[in-house]
């Protein structure tokens, strides 16, 4: 089943390009380490999901590009065309002359309604091209004005017009140090609006990916392009095809639907994060070998200790011993930041994947008390290797990973709001103090829900 991607703003368009590029170059890669027939099935499955075919055989991304400035969209279009492997549709983009000035309210209340019809028409045409349509993948940042403001507006419209289709928002969490002075305002407005209209928020933190680039990839001068490539790699390893069942060699038809059913059925718990392993530069990859046991042991410790990457994992964190009175243990584990999960999905790709043992993820102590591991944990597999890694594992987790960053952003925004800083920039475009208060309330509720697992 097909997914229509909506790329919004500078960030969304740049990442979108990298994602399509990663997906297509992986499916055409010769390093898949599997039979020709299996490779063909894998390619077909990937193409059906993200690309449509045109007469001359070049795949066209099922995507709609939206930005208020033409510069990034033009760059994106030409980069895709230059790749020769794929391209964007000719009439799939919408852009204007003037941006949103990092003001969420301008994107949401001015640009959004003004261009609603054109944007929704583009999306409708793209949806109609799909023989079988599964849902939307909406890529945006949450700190800026265009991506976040129009993104929230468009998601809301999609919820109204395609209420039965799935909606996953891919959100870029801004650097803690911040590029934009009002990024915390923009963030809380984006998150609280998306919590109402989206089915799942797949969140990537710029800080974490920056560290991966620096520590694991050994990149000295880190550019946005580097960061976006790491991000696209993570997304690709989630969305590339996997087998539909343990003993089956058929590829999963509706991974977006299956993923949501596994991870985000509860309306109060919609935040997902991704951890992958291994991740390294091409130079070191040549000298490394991996075992499934080793990879999964690291990935599990990354999950329970809330580590953002393979390096610097705190091995002292242990799941709370079930059965013991938790009083003394609790405080100890709190200090060590044990990360409680609601639901986890592990995706394994590569050689000997059938032999991989995921029992470590089925420990009831890892999960909240109201879900059994059999309901909370799933594993997807495929023998085909992803990208250049012979074996790789990725974890999509609905857990307490994001409670702390969310709490911090809400706290910072509240401090600014309490001193009424920059509020007039929002009220003049129709976002009242009442709307801010609503956003604070709903996000505080989210934080509380995640804390009380």
């Amino acid at each position: 089943m097909s997914i229509v991607t909506v790329q919004l703003g500078q960030c969304g368009n740049q990442i979108g390009f990298e994602v399509f590029d990663a997906l297509l170059s992986d499916s055409h890669s010769s390093q898949g380490l599997c039979s020709k027939r299996e490779n063909e099935a894998y390619q077909a499955s990937c193409k059906e999901r993200f690309f449509s075919e045109e007469e001359n055989g070049v795949p066209i991304a099922r995507a709609v590009l939206v930005d208020m400035e033409p510069k990034v969209i033009n760059q994106t279009l030409s980069k895709a065309a230059q790749s020769g492997q794929w391209k964007y549709g000719q009439h799939a983009c919408f852009c204007q002359k003037q941006g949103s000035g990092n003001n969420w309210a301008y994107g949401y209340s001015v640009h959004g309604p003004r261009h609603e019809e054109s944007i929704m028409n583009l999306i409708r045409k793209e949806v109609e091209k799909c023989d079988s349509f599964s849902g939307f993948f909406i890529i945006m940042s949450m700190a800026g004005g265009t991506g976040s403001g129009i993104g929230a507006f468009v998601t809301q419209n999609l919820q109204d017009q395609y209420s039965n289709s799935l909606k996953m928002n891919q959100i870029i969490w801004p650097y803690g140090t911040g590029e934009v002075i009002v990024q915390n305002y923009n963030s809380i407005l984006t998150l609280s609006h998306l919590y109402r209209s989206s089915d799942a928020l797949l969140i990537h933190e710029n800080d974490a990916i920056h560290k991966i680039c620096a520590k694991l990839m050994n990149i000295k001068q880190i550019s946005f392009s580097d960061i976006n490539q790491v991000l696209a790699h993570q997304l690709g390893s989630v969305f590339q095809p996997t087998y539909s069942a343990e003993s089956s060699f058929h590829y999963r038809r509706n991974p977006l639907g299956d993923l949501m059913e596994h991870l985000v059925p509860h309306p109060e718990f919609k935040m997902l994060s991704v951890r992958n392993i291994p991740h390294m530069s091409e130079n070191s990859l040549a000298y490394s070998t991996f075992t499934w046991a080793g990879l999964l042991k690291h990935l599990r410790q990354m999950l329970i200790s809330n580590a953002k990457m393979e390096e610097g994992i705190d091995w002292h964190v242990r799941p709370p011993l079930s059965g013991l009175p938790p009083l003394g243990k609790m405080s100890l584990n709190k200090d060590l930041h044990f990360n409680t999960s609601i639901a986890n999905l592990v995706i394994l790709r590569g050689k000997d994947v059938q032999s991989a043992d995921v029992e470590g993820f089925k420990d009831p102590a890892l999960y909240t008390s109201w879900l059994k591991p059999v309901n909370a944990f799933n594993v997807w597999k495929t023998r085909r290797a992803f990208s250049k890694y012979e074996k790789s594992a990725v974890l999509v987790s609905n857990s307490q990973f994001l409670v702390k960053p969310l709490d911090m952003i809400v706290g910072k925004a509240w401090n600014m709001f309490a001193s009424k800083a920059y509020i007039h920039q929002y009220t003049k475009f129709g976002i009242e103090e009442e709307d801010f208060l609503d956003s604070f309330t709903s996000l505080e509720q989210v934080v509380a829900s995640y804390c009380n697992l």
Partner: protein, 489 residues
């Protein structure tokens, strides 16, 4: 006597308002929810109250889910069942056993029936001492005491409590899963429709039969892949596709085709599980329940909770006012107390209560008696099996069955009319929307089949009811036997 009645009347007058309230609360808390008016009529032995009271006693003794075939048993059968139950529990009132027209007698039997009732009732746990204080006949009090001894572990706890408290977040989680399942179902139905329409469009003019114009899915599949057409999966898939189209367009449960919401459809699926397509039988999670099996506990839980809430509220109200009710019952007892001596001479069947120790001798005697009886019965039954009467009866009943079947078939053929149930039909795409004479309207066929189904179900129900009545009659004819219907029927 006169003084006593006067006193009671005064008391009743003072509580003129409390009594209707008490009776209303009681009737709400009883499983069948009888009208409070019945109690008043029964007190004055009004004939119209009799049947309602028999039904009430019967429903208290064997509370069955509404709509069950057993609930519609004939009144005499119900009366007989109640009488034998009361008799075997030691209820001594001669008047009850002989004259079922007497409303106040029936009313007096109510507390006892409630005590025997298998489910929790407001009067459950009503102390035997209280009944004794009301000068109930000795036998009744004794039977009541025995009942309490038997039921000492208390009423069986509702089964949901056995699994511990349910976290509401878990229920919300399951609900969310169901919702996602629903959305997947909608999108796959839409996909099937789109593909079918495409196949019909692309193969236009390919079919040798000009009136059809296009190929069916199976034909297209066989042309595309002549070898694979033999495979089970290929054939199955194309068949499903052909079936899915009319289902999508005409079934009363049409995902994505109308303004219905998830909740409407969920309700529809709950009420009519037959509508559910096969995809839903797949488990929601490895080792877990399927979407449908997930629905029914949710629904059952909800209904049980609602029902129990109502009953509990009524019981609370009843508890506050029950004293009034018992005083009123006392007045009824007072008017009937003249017959009490007669009851002493009436033999009653007292229930056998298991005792540890001294009762063993008695037990052996009873077992011997049972063995003797069984042997006698078997001899009698065996004799019937070989006799000429038996084969005649068998022949007669076989002929009756054949007659019935013939009648049913004739009725079926009459009903079916022009659009009979048919062999395989094919789905044909029409641009103009005009239908030919030979065309089959899916909606019409479905409606017809549904009505036939309902008709057959009604016949089945009727026959089942007859069988059960017959069984009940046979069992009821034996004194001292109580027929216990199978659980859940």
């Amino acid at each position: 006597m006169g003084r006593r009645r006067q006193r009671v009347d005064l008391a009743a007058g003072a509580r003129a308002r409390a009594l209707p309230e008490a009776i209303a609360a009681l009737s709400r808390s009883l499983p069948s929810g009888p009208s409070p008016e019945i109690f008043r009529r029964a007190k004055f032995d009004r004939p119209e109250a009799t049947s309602a009271l028999w039904q009430l006693l019967y429903s208290v003794l064997s509370p069955l889910p509404a709509g069950n075939a057993l609930a519609s048993l004939a009144l005499e059968v119900q009366a007989r069942l109640v009488k034998s139950a009361l008799c075997s529990q030691g209820y001594p009132r001669l008047a009850l056993a002989q004259l079922p027209e007497d409303g106040s007698q029936l009313l007096l039997a109510l507390p006892l029936c409630v005590c025997f009732a298998p489910q929790g009732s407001p009067m459950k746990g009503y102390p035997a001492a209280r009944l004794k204080a009301q000068r109930l006949p000795q036998g009744l009090t004794l039977a009541l005491l025995q009942c309490e001894a038997l039921a000492s572990p208390g009423p069986p706890a509702p089964h949901m409590e056995a699994e511990g408290p349910v976290d509401v977040r878990h229920v919300q989680w399951l609900m969310g899963k169901l919702r996602f399942r629903w959305r997947q179902l909608v999108s796959s139905q839409q996909e099937q429709c789109a593909l079918l329409s495409k196949i019909h469009l692309y193969t236009r003019g390919c079919h040798s039969d000009q009136s059809l114009g296009h190929l069916s899915v199976t034909e297209a599949e066989m042309l595309r892949d002549p070898e694979g057409g033999q495979q089970v999966s290929g054939a199955g898939a194309s068949q499903n596709l052909d079936l899915a189209y009319p289902k999508c367009l005409h079934s009363s449960c049409t995902p994505g085709m109308g303004p219905r919401t998830f909740w409407n459809d969920l309700w529809l699926v709950c009420e009519r599980p037959g509508l559910l397509p096969g995809d839903w039988a797949a488990p929601l999670d490895p080792g877990g329940a399927s979407a449908y099996s997930l629905l029914s506990p949710l629904r059952a839980l909800l209904q049980t909770l609602e029902h129990e809430n109502q009953r509990l509220e009524a019981v609370l109200a009843w508890r506050r006012t029950e004293l009034v009710f018992w005083r009123w019952m006392d007045t009824i007892l007072g008017t009937c107390s003249l017959e009490v001596p007669a009851a002493a001479s009436q033999p009653t069947f007292l229930p056998w209560v298991p005792e540890r120790g001294g009762g063993e001798l008695e037990l052996e005697e009873l077992q011997e008696a049972v063995e003797r009886r069984r042997a006698a019965w078997e001899a009698k039954a065996g004799g019937c099996g070989r006799g000429p009467e038996w084969s005649a009866a068998r022949r007669a009943s076989r002929e009756a069955v054949e007659r019935e079947l013939g009648a049913l078939q004739r009725c079926w053929e009459q009903d079916s009319g022009p659009a009979q149930p048919h062999g395989p039909h094919r789905l044909v795409r029409r641009e103009d929307g005009a239908a030919g004479d030979q065309d089959l309207r899916a909606a019409e066929v479905i409606r017809r089949l549904r009505s036939q189904e309902a008709c057959l179900e009604a016949v089945l129900c009727r026959l089942q009811g007859q069988c059960q009545q017959e069984l009940a009659r046979l069992v009821g004819a034996l004194p001292g036997f109580i027929w216990i219907p199978p659980p859940g029927r």
